[in-house]
């Protein structure tokens, strides 16, 4: 299998930052594959997603390479990147309320997206938009076309965002915490929806999340990140059942387990003590 995406030695340093946010990250992704990027806050997982989407702020220093269908997408101009977005490369973000424009109906936003990238008549785009709202499980899709995001629940808004992310059949979807803002029962429905749509379209996905449960159920491979570096990467079964890195083991041990009887949990550990230590070093300002 040839790689759909091949990231090599990617490093990102934000303007004015003393240290890179991610350093020397390499991984690849085959067509149709779902890879999880898991890590805690500050691990660099979101920066990785933004770098691949070309959405880092100006002045950010980016090194390394990211080949998407053998074409370099790092350091490429906005103008070259724009036709790629949506059609080849798409994103689902955590907070649907900020991903949607509050001043336009959800229907008009989907129509605008479709007509920007496809030669479609107004009515053609409208019927395709209605079809997509239906596919993502929104009832009365014709009526909902005229709804504004504040009139819809968080789960409904995320369904609209997913429709927009997948409407142009992208080859690669980068989803950054797509269900973290949702209630757990809604999350379960949205995860199922994403899986079905990704399977149907044959798209690949990079799923960025802090939730090991989501990774275990959604991904075939996992990349574990900490402090901007990849600490471990492998098949999902290996990561969960034979983790090689201490950090991965620590993360797994920290996972609250609702289905197992009460188990002893890790006590105050090196990591938190280290935080206290480093705050002390930076402290006394």
């Amino acid at each position: 299998m040839t790689d759909l995406l091949k990231v090599q030695a990617l490093s990102v340093r934000y303007a004015g930052a003393l240290r890179p946010s991610i350093a020397d990250v390499s991984f690849s992704l085959a067509a149709g594959e779902v890879v999880g990027v898991v890590g805690e806050s500050g691990s660099g997982k979101t920066t990785l997603g933004l770098a691949l989407l070309g959405l880092l702020p100006q002045g950010t220093k980016v090194h390394g390479s990211a080949l998407f269908e053998r074409a370099e997408i790092l350091g490429v101009s906005e103008r070259e990147l724009r036709p790629l977005r949506g059609t080849l490369l798409s994103t689902i973000v955590q907070n649907p309320a900020t991903a949607l424009n509050p001043s336009f109906s959800v229907g008009s936003q989907i129509v605008a997206l479709l007509r920007r990238h496809r030669t479609l008549s107004k009515s053609g785009a409208r019927s395709l938009a209605i079809e997509w709202l239906d596919r993502v499980g929104i009832s009365e899709p014709e009526k909902r076309m005229g709804s504004y995001s504040h009139q819809l629940s968080g789960g409904m808004n995320q369904r609209v965002v997913i429709a927009m992310a997948l409407a142009l059949s992208p080859r690669l979807v980068i989803a950054d915490e797509p269900t973290s803002a949702l209630d757990v029962t809604v999350q379960a429905a949205i995860l199922r929806l994403i899986t079905e749509l990704i399977d149907d379209s044959g798209s690949s996905m990079v799923l960025i999340t802090h939730d090991l449960g989501v990774v275990a159920q959604m991904c075939s491979r996992v990349i574990v990140m900490k402090d901007g570096a990849v600490v471990e990467a492998g098949e999902v079964d290996q990561i969960f059942h034979a983790p090689r890195s201490d950090y991965t083991q620590h993360l797994l041990a920290s996972q609250p387990s609702h289905s197992a009887p009460a188990k002893p949990m890790p006590t105050v550990s090196a990591s938190e003590a280290a935080v206290a230590k480093s705050t002390e070093e930076h402290g006394h300002g």
Binding site: G213, A262, E280
Partner: protein, 281 residues
């Protein structure tokens, strides 16, 4: 567990109604809707017991906590604490109660005064309630810092010098310092990374085993409550749909919604099946 323990808190038919603008929007007058946030809820809590209240957004779990804390009035119903009716509190009674009922909030960045050193943050409740001499207060602060595993050197730190996990330890120390009878903890681990979350849960489990304080642990996350609770109450749309000993509710849920909630948590193991049950009423 818990059957023989002395009763500390009894909430009886607590109800909270709000007015909210109807579907037509706030501009059309007289079209207000009555919204029932908490719908005749009854719970009781024994001394040294931890009761978790779990539910999704809009379930009324936080409003219930705020009513117990005296931060929200009841529309109807009563709250009895330590044998006394505290549904309506005089300013004096309210002040006394702040010593007996303490709170830990979700966001340790917003709930700690950024201008005070950690030792002053933790000591403040002792100052307010005039408990002990200055020396005794200092000793008590160190004692409680030790109890929550806050390194002694952090006493002179300002809050911004601490990580989220250590800040939440400060919040818990501040709640414990006056030896309250009840702590209401509203989503105390929801803002924390998973490895830090495990450590704070461990601390709650330790508090449960080593002190006689009762804890009302409010959470949206069923996954986190098991290790810290004796009993659990599951809320939905302002009502308690199921309550019982924690293991019984987790292993043999009797209400369809509880079963749906449990099944919706994706297991952190690729070999375990994930078959969310949907629930509609």
């Amino acid at each position: 567990m818990g059957e023989e323990r002395e009763l500390l808190l009894r909430v009886d038919m607590a109800r909270k109604e709000y007015d909210r603008p109807g579907p037509a929007g706030r501009l059309r007058r007289g079209k207000k809707e009555r919204f029932v946030a908490v719908d005749d809820v009854s719970i009781s809590l024994a001394r040294a017991e931890t009761l978790s209240v779990v539910g999704e957004s809009g379930s009324g779990k936080s409003t219930l906590g705020r009513m117990i804390l005296g931060l929200t009035d009841l529309t109807s119903g009563t709250i009895e604490f330590d044998g006394v009716d505290i549904t309506h509190r005089t300013p004096r009674r309210r002040r006394e109660l702040t010593r007996e009922i303490q709170v830990v909030f979700q966001d340790p960045y917003a709930s700690i005064d950024p201008r005070q050193r950690i030792e002053d943050v933790i000591r403040e409740p002792l100052d307010i309630h005039r408990i002990g001499t200055p020396t005794q207060r200092r000793e008590r602060v160190l004692e409680v810092m030790h109890q929550v595993a806050l390194p002694e050197r952090t006493a002179r730190f300002f809050p911004h010098q601490l990580s989220g996990g250590l800040r939440q330890r400060v919040s818990i120390a501040t709640a414990l310092v006056v030896r309250p009878k009840l702590i209401v903890a509203d989503e105390p681990v929801s803002a924390l990374d998973v490895s830090v979350q495990a450590q704070i849960l461990e601390l709650f489990a330790e508090v449960r085993h080593t002190t006689s304080v009762s804890v009302l642990f409010i959470s949206h996350d069923l996954g986190v409550v098991r290790e810290v609770s004796d009993r659990v109450a599951v809320m939905r749309h302002g009502r308690i749909v199921e309550t019982g000993p924690i293991d019984q509710v987790f292993d043999h849920p009797t209400h369809g919604y509880t079963a749906a909630l449990l099944s919706a948590i994706p297991p952190a193991d690729p070999r375990l099946p994930f078959h969310p049950i949907s629930y509609t009423d």
